[in-house]
């Protein structure tokens, strides 16, 4: 093991170097640029065997990844914000063609107005594209998630999008425990595609026209693969603990055992929430928090279990789902708890375009929950937090 000081982007590049993928096709976009830039240095310095494809857009980046993955290679890239949006069409192609591509997303707001800072509207918009989505809280998790993602993708036969907060994680230098190269290599093993396009002895057609007679069967396969991925994520997390000492599951709890009030967040805000919970506990308020790590497939049973004893829940969404009843995480969690919990579930939309969220904000959320729990009344189910 090596202890390194790295920002999130450099940690992604470093993990990619250790993974040594066959092909990386990438295009720079803030706040992901450093990762692809750093990785291309590793390529230029001959530290990896990767074929680096410098493309002209993100649509092309994902297209090149799809071609390379279909050809039988282990393929990676990374993007953010408008770059992810520009890949839209190809995201679905990658997932539906069941290609195990790994793409780190450094979460950033979508235009307009143009903004380069963190929120989750980019990856949350892609939540139905068939990609497995894992959210990391800090640089260490960003590093750990990308290594696990390779194994998850190849076992599940689905692409994986590990995500972390742009700038907050991507540009913050933190202490990272990096595994030895050999350990990473053994953990991910050698990728062997089942039907590589380059196997001329066994010709295969990728991406044929699919009519109403079989399209639905292919969607059903994808549906089942996504369901099966839940166990794969858990198993890979356990296996990773053996080599790293750090355990990973679909979610993690903080003081939830005896809590009546719960705050749920993903990404870096989960850390802020833990801090706020600890401060409120000192004041005698029975709060806890839950960090969601896996968003796709959605671990609804784990969520039900974790929240079974709480009376009031605040779901923190770092993006809006305009016109919907709350943000994306809120809708899913409320739906997961339907008929299994009597808790009131409210939603806070926060941190858009990089708007800071502090422990004071979360403490206000916990106070609101306390009011709901004592009065039984909810003033507003969905509200913006920290807006003027």
């Amino acid at each position: 093991m090596k202890i390194l000081g790295m920002n999130g982007d450099n940690a992604v590049a470093y993990a990619m170097k250790q993974i040594n993928p066959d092909v990386v096709a990438g295009y720079p976009i803030t706040p992901q640029t450093i990762a692809i830039e750093k990785f291309s240095e590793y390529v230029a310095d001959g530290e990896v065997d990767t074929e680096f494809v410098a493309v002209e857009s993100e649509h092309s980046a994902m297209s090149a990844c799809i071609g390379a993955s279909a050809s039988g290679g282990r393929v990676m890239t990374s993007t953010a914000s408008a770059g992810l949006a520009f890949m839209w069409e190809m995201l679905y192609v990658a997932a539906s063609t069941r290609l195990p591509i790994v793409m780190n997303v450094m979460n950033r707001a979508l235009s307009a107005p143009i903004n380069i800072h963190c929120d989750h509207s980019d990856s949350m918009g892609a939540r139905d594209s068939g990609w497995i989505q894992i959210y990391g809280e800090n640089v260490q998790e960003g590093y750990d998630n990308i290594i696990q993602a390779v194994k998850i993708a190849e076992s599940a036969g689905l692409p994986v999008m590990p995500c972390f907060d742009g700038f907050i994680v991507s540009h913050a230098v933190e202490r990272v425990e990096a595994l030895d190269d050999e350990k990473v290599k053994n953990f991910i093993g050698i990728y062997k595609s089942e039907h590589p396009l380059l196997d001329v002895e066994n010709p295969v057609t990728y991406g044929p026209f699919d009519m109403y007679d079989y399209y639905m069967e292919h969607k059903k396969q994808e549906h089942e693969a996504m369901k099966a991925a839940l166990k794969i994520v858990k198993d890979v997390g356990k296996e990773y603990e053996k080599i790293s000492g750090r355990s990973y599951d679909t979610l993690s709890e903080h003081r939830l055992d005896d809590a009546e009030l719960a705050v749920i967040a993903l990404g870096s805000t989960a850390g802020t929430a833990r801090e706020a919970v600890d401060e409120m506990r000192k004041k005698g308020i029975n709060a806890g928090s839950l960090k969601l790590r896996l968003f796709r497939p959605f671990p609804y049973e784990d969520i039900r279990n974790a929240l079974k004893n709480v009376k009031a829940i605040a779901v923190m969404d770092r993006c809006d789902s305009f016109g919907a009843f709350g943000g994306p995480m809120f809708s899913e969690i409320r739906s997961a708890l339907y008929k299994t919990s009597d808790a009131e579930v409210v939603n806070y939309i926060y941190g858009l375009g990089g708007r800071d969220v502090t422990t004071n904000h979360i403490k206000k959320v916990i106070s609101d929950l306390n009011n709901i729990s004592t009065t039984g009344k909810v003033k507003e189910y969905v509200q913006y937090l920290g807006v003027r």
Binding site: R98, L99, G157, H195, V204, T205, Y206, Y214, E217
Partner: protein, 90 residues
């Protein structure tokens, strides 16, 4: 027809050349009818047919393969001798 467990993942086709199993003849609204008397065996229709549905033996037209002819009418419009006419499918 096969269920989702019986087909390759991701829409892949593992058997090459399997389009012979797909009888496009069912798409046909109009049927090309070939008149042997008018035909001079220039083979233009054979070259132009997008579905390889003109049957040729020893460099001579033998007829039309209605299993695959989808009735596009290219052969009829391209024939210099008007030896192919399009008739309503009954």
């Amino acid at each position: 027809m096969k269920g989702w467990k019986e087909i390759p993942d991701g829409g892949l086709i593992l058997e090459p050349g399997n389009s012979v199993e797909y009888k496009t003849g069912s798409w046909r609204a109009k049927r090309p009818v070939w008149d042997k008397e008018k035909c001079i065996n220039c083979l233009i229709c054979w070259i132009q047919c997008p579905d390889n549905a003109i049957i040729v033996e020893n460099e001579k037209i033998r007829g039309i393969n209605y299993d695959y002819c989808k009735g596009c009418g290219i052969c009829a419009s391209i024939c210099p001798k008007e030896a192919i006419s399009m008739e309503e499918e009954k």
